[in-house]
């Protein structure tokens, strides 16, 4: 009985594990991807309800991965949230300009993350 399927695209294994464990603890089904290409492929194959995407990734970066996700009819409607350790003001703007549906700044708050994810999922439901 999952609250929803979340695709987490994150290249740092420890951070991936942290997000995965917190979300699973909160009752979500988590699919892991460690590169942009993987993320795009798994988005297509698993039709998640929400994608949490790191911006800086090996190979294609988060922005490019998002572009590809949005070009496919099958994945176009999935809300994608940027998760990044960039802290400059323009990083946030860049994320929104690139078409992300939301922005979560690292370090993530373990306490708040489940709530944030719930909010983003509602966003997806509205769409």
């Amino acid at each position: 009985m999952s609250h929803g399927r979340i695709l987490v695209v994150e290249d740092n294994p420890k951070n991936l594990k942290l997000v995965r464990d917190v979300l699973r603890y909160s009752g979500y089904e988590v699919i892991e991807a460690t590169s942009g290409e993987d993320g795009v492929r798994l988005a297509y194959e698993t039709s998640p309800d929400l994608i949490l995407m790191d911006l800086q990734l090996p190979g294609i970066d988060g922005v490019e991965a998002l572009r590809r996700i949005r070009t496919s009819d099958r994945t176009r409607g999935v809300p994608v949230v940027a998760v990044t350790a960039f802290a400059m003001d323009h990083d946030r703007e860049r994320a929104f300009d690139s078409g992300f549906n939301g922005y979560v700044e690292k370090p993530i708050s373990v306490r708040r993350l489940p709530q944030q994810v719930r909010d983003f999922l509602r966003l997806g439901g509205v769409r």
């Binding site: 740092n12 350790a85 802290a87």
Partner: protein, 749 residues
């Protein structure tokens, strides 16, 4: 007259004739003297005519075959006037000038300063110019010195070709005439001296004027090409040469490089630029090493170095190279040249040295400017690298911090099982240290943003009291743990403020955190906001340990912390530095008042923006205004000014978006900046005025540059030069019909 006087006896015929002759001679003499005098008067401006009259009269009145006039020059008499002399004699005299000695009559009169004669030159044992006598044939000669202030300037002499001594009367005539001639010559000399002095003065004035121009060029322009070409031009003009060049010395190549030329053929310039003008192998280099000008009067007669060869082959014949030195260092060389061989006078060289001195300064200025430009370009790169480094460091540090904070949080949340008390304490330590590290990281980033001028403020209107309460709430738990009381006091006349809410909160939080940190258990911390004239002052007062006088400035510096408080809390050492910078960015200042042992008050001021202080409820926007402005602070300010007016603001940051916005919104007025990315303000103005749909919309130019005339010509309704006051902006909008007067007035109350 005399002759008619009644005689006592009969006058002899002989005596009568003698008297008659004397009378005629006197008459003649009188007439001649008159003639000379009137000639002198008539031709005062033409001394040559005076001298001619004198020589002719002297010959006639002294009944001699020849009369001649000499001027003394460099110890020799030079013949300048002669009558009754054969061409051959004149040539002989000219070819054999007479020195001032006793061999000649005029030599003797010059030495003795008296009028003398030689009754028979052939009978005078001391006479030494028999050679002349043989050519000219004279026997008796008389002469008088021309004296000015007892100085011999020349001599007048008369000859008879037979032995027939001159009488006293004739001697007087020659003496008088020599005197007249001397005066005439002296007049000429005086005039010549005056003229020469005038010319000299004019020349000096010209030189000074030119030097001033050179100096001005050196000082006014950093465009070194312009300066050097001005210098080259003046150097050539003042030295009366035909062309010139200025070279810069390159220490690394030990070579002179042509930087500027004047009146030089293009192909010569090209050759000069490609020729190695080496320090050790050229005239230019030699002059530089000697530290003084070196001239070549004729290139045909010297061995040519590569530089001189280029010049010689292009038809140049004489050259002078003047070194340009500064503090003993070779800076370059100034070269002027002529198409003809010839000397360069000492004066010319002195003048060129002065010009070279100025040029050295110009070149040095230019070099410094170049270095400065390069240095600042390097700094810019370094600063960019620093920013990039900070951004990437921030990323790299946040990634592991994310795991540290996250996993410690997971354990603290006891998501996967309980932890005991000690484990929880350690987990809190891990988590706390991680938060501290994160805080440090954020402050370093903020500080680097402030220092790079890249911290962007987001102004808005908000309630100050809410912000202070909010901040206090964040610290309440921590303060309660130490029994510290927190109070907020806000003046009754303070409601809303216009500032960057987040940054203001950051400052207040920093000051309050410090206050709590350095206040002992059971103390109190009060944050107050009071109005002080046009400003709002916010102070945070604690009952802590205080800050000693010697630390009061230091604690605002990076990584300097005050004495440890009782809580032994750690801080970043950047908080106060950053807070002060943010306050300054917001247009205020920060201060500290403290008494050791009694407590401290940290305060800062905030510009109270009247326009935005008052709530603007109740007045719906009646018109639109489009602001086309790419500079964020300017935009913020104008938006703030207009926030009270009954206007809806549409702001865009570039020309094209501006045009689109105006076409779409059809505003009551447009506020237009000129310097915009993409198409500039002028183009926007032109385009708006060219389109029938937008041509009637008043455009108010708001620019940093004052080009009113251009604005008016292109159809701008008004022109405001930044910085623009609120009143000016609103008045202009009223004048443009975009706003009604009472609305503007209303906002001022």
């Amino acid at each position: 007259m005399v002759e008619r006087a009644p005689a006592r006896g009969a006058v002899s015929t002989v005596e009568h004739e003698r008297l008659q002759r004397n009378f005629a001679a006197l008459n003649d003499q009188f007439a001649a003297a008159n003639e000379v005098l009137s000639a002198v008067g008539r031709s005062a401006g033409d001394p040559d005519q005076v001298l001619t009259t004198i020589v002719e009269s002297a010959r006639r009145l002294c009944r001699s075959q020849a009369a001649h006039l000499y001027l003394l020059e460099n110890g020799f008499y030079r013949l300048i006037k002669a009558v009754g002399l054969s061409e051959e004699s004149i040539r002989f005299i000219t070819g054999h000038p007479m020195p001032m000695n006793r061999e000649t009559l005029i030599g003797r009169v010059g030495l003795d300063h008296t009028t003398q004669q030689i009754a028979d030159v052939l009978a005078d044992p001391d006479y030494g110019r028999q050679d002349l006598q043989r050519v000219a044939g004279f026997r008796t000669t008389m002469g008088a010195p021309m004296l000015v202030d007892d100085q011999v300037v020349g001599a007048l002499s008369v000859w008879r070709n037979e032995v027939s001594p001159f009488d006293e009367r004739e001697k007087n005539i020659v003496t008088a005439f020599a005197g007249q001639a001397a005066m005439a010559i002296n007049g000429v000399k005086l005039v010549q001296q005056l003229e020469a002095r005038g010319a000299e003065l004019a020349r000096k004035v010209g030189e000074l004027e030119a030097l001033r121009e050179v100096g001005e060029a050196v000082n006014s322009s950093l465009e070194v090409g312009e300066v050097l070409s001005t210098i080259a031009k003046h150097a050539v003009r003042l030295s009366a040469t035909d062309g010139g060049s200025i070279m810069e010395y390159s220490e690394t190549e030990r070579c002179f490089l042509v930087r500027s030329t004047y009146q030089t053929e293009p192909q010569v310039i090209e050759r000069l630029r490609t020729t190695r003008i080496h320090l050790d192998e050229t005239l230019v280099g030699r002059a530089a090493k000697l530290g003084r000008p070196l001239a070549v009067t004729d290139l045909e007669t010297v061995e040519l170095d590569p530089h001189l060869r280029v010049l010689f082959e292009a038809g140049w014949r004489s050259v002078v190279a003047v070194p340009m030195l500064r503090e003993g260092q070779i800076v370059g060389s100034l070269v002027v040249r002529r198409k003809q061989p010839g000397e360069f006078s000492g004066e010319t060289l002195a003048l060129l040295e002065m010009i070279a001195d100025q040029s050295a300064l110009a070149l040095l200025n230019a070099q410094l400017y170049r270095e400065l430009k390069q240095r600042s370009a390097e700094l810019e790169v370094a600063s960019r690298h620093k920013s990039e480094f900070l951004a990437s460091m921030s990323h790299e540090l946040r990634t592991p911090l994310n795991a540290v904070l996250g996993f410690s949080e997971v354990l603290l949340e006891q998501m996967f099982g309980e932890v005991n008390e000690r484990q929880e304490e350690y987990l809190r330590d891990i988590h706390g240290s991680g938060r501290h590290l994160l805080e440090l990281l954020n402050e370093i980033l903020d500080l680097s943003k402030v220092e790079a001028g890249r911290m962007e403020l987001e102004y808005s209107t908000f309630e100050l009291r809410a912000l202070l309460d909010n901040t206090v709430a964040m610290l309440r738990e921590r303060a309660a743990a130490h029994g510290i009381e927190l109070h907020v006091e806000v003046g009754p006349d303070i409601d809303q403020v216009f500032a960057d809410e987040l940054r203001l909160k950051q400052v207040v939080l920093n000051l309050m955190t410090n206050a709590v940190k350095f206040t002992g258990d059971g103390g109190s911390v009060v944050v107050r906001a009071v109005r002080a004239g046009s400003e709002i002052e916010i102070t945070v007062t604690d009952t802590g340990i205080g800050v000693p006088v010697e630390d009061r400035e230091r604690i605002f510096e990076s990584f300097q912390q005050g004495g440890r408080g009782p809580s032994q809390e750690e801080g970043t050492g950047l908080g106060l530095t950053l807070s002060r910078r943010i306050v300054e960015l917001l247009g205020g200042r920060m201060w500290l008042a403290s008494e050791v042992g009694a407590g401290s008050t940290f305060g800062f001021s905030l510009r109270s923006r009247e326009a935005a202080d008052q709530p603007r409820s109740g007045r719906p926007p009646v018109g639109d205004v489009v602001i086309i402005e790419d500079d964020r602070p300017s935009l913020d300010l104008m938006t703030a000014y207009l926030s009270g007016a009954a206007l809806r603001v549409t702001a865009v940051g570039d020309g094209q978006s501006g045009l689109d916005a105006v076409r779409r919104v059809r505003p009551a007025a447009v506020l237009l900046d000129i310097r915009l990315p993409g198409i500039d303000g002028w183009a926007v103005l032109q385009a708006l005025k060219a389109e029938p749909e937008t041509s009637s919309i008043p455009v108010i130019v708001v620019s940093i540059v004052d080009e009113r005339a251009r604005g008016a010509a292109l159809g701008a309704a008004a022109y405001l030069v930044k910085p623009v006051s609120r009143d000016a902006l609103l008045d202009t909008l009223v004048a443009a019909g975009a706003l009604s007067a009472p609305e503007a007035e209303g906002e001022l109350s």
